[in-house]
Symmetry: C2
Subunit: 212 residues, 2 copies
Amino acid sequence: MATDALVAFEPRKMPIQARSTVTVDAISEAAIQVLLSHGAERLTTTRVADRAGVSVGTLYQYFSNKQSLLFAVLENHFNKVASRVEAACQRARHKPLSEMTKEMVEAFVDAKMERADISVALYRVACEVGGPTLVKRVNHRTRKAVEAALETAPDIKSPPDQFAIEIMLSAMGGVMRSLLESGPSPATVRKAREQLVLLCQSYMAAATAKRV
Amino acid sequence: MATDALVAFEPRKMPIQARSTVTVDAISEAAIQVLLSHGAERLTTTRVADRAGVSVGTLYQYFSNKQSLLFAVLENHFNKVASRVEAACQRARHKPLSEMTKEMVEAFVDAKMERADISVALYRVACEVGGPTLVKRVNHRTRKAVEAALETAPDIKSPPDQFAIEIMLSAMGGVMRSLLESGPSPATVRKAREQLVLLCQSYMAAATAKRV
DNA sequence: TCCAGACCTGAAGAATCCTTCATCCAATGG
DNA sequence: CCATTGGATGAAGGATTCTTCAGGTCTGGA
């Protein structure tokens, strides 16, 4: 149930001509729209195809089944967020711990908020489509990036262990989730972003042996 | 979709005789079992009834529909956890901030772990059954308890604002979720508990004006 | 221009599922 | 002991949904 829960989620055919690429994108986007307007329970392959302006058959040409479609959408979103965080970690190399943390957290929040609708929509299906496994995978990848960045911080003697970083990442995920699911105002988002930075900074400081 | 999403989740009939109470409990427990063994997607009212050793009709005598059943199970679990945290807050009154935080966090972790199976099972349906709304409600209730306790801490000048407490609570939720969904060993749980305490202590300290 | 292969279509098969209701069993109290 | 109300049953109606496949349409290279 853990690792091999991802078989049969493989896509079916790769787009070759330009028009099919458009179709696949349309289907993915339609899945999100349907998720938002009808909920996970009422997400139907037919409905998704309709919304995408294609027929069901077309959908099944690229995704072997409903789960495969949702998995692809989820994976794509996670990868985008992870990339943003990795980029931030790259940019923040050699900066002091607190600044580094700030940039990383802000990148995460901003990436999530950029397509808040997708984030919210995906919370509703993550569990039915190997979400936890994917989260684990992405968290692992992100942790590596954070870890590598921390190695370069000038004011750290011994960096926090892997476990602490994972705790921080899951805390960030939890905060963003509550936030997104509450349909926050821009002001609220701004405040939450600040607080999340503070939360992570405090924790990192506490979990780290500082170099004087 | 937000607040009034909870209508039609009302139970249908209250147990009067003792045997029906047993039945209702059996149904709730069966729902959890089915959730764990078959997943949310394959949770069927008939299957739940079978597992509970009753017929579908009986199920529908106490729950107006499938969602109502799942909602009840979810609500019950949340209430139990919230009560445990409230009790811990009560016990921790007049203790210093860091100790208070520690007791609160540990109560939360322990309550979640006590029925880890339920927690994990419910993650899979929370979203389809007004989960976010319920979480918001429970978080609000818990925040009140934490807030009240903080008022009594001797080493605090001005307590953190409501928002900060909610951030902390959602962070705790996120960490526990990742943890539970990874099927952790007891040793991992112990370590996570420690780290979560540290996380919350650091944040509370940073978000509070300390009295010298 | 022509064709092979890429693409698309959508009706229909097959499988579940949710929920109801007519009917029967059990308990309680007068 | 009997009537009344609570409790339980499970077959079947009504509704959805997933997925396939036989047969069209479009595109790019020869």
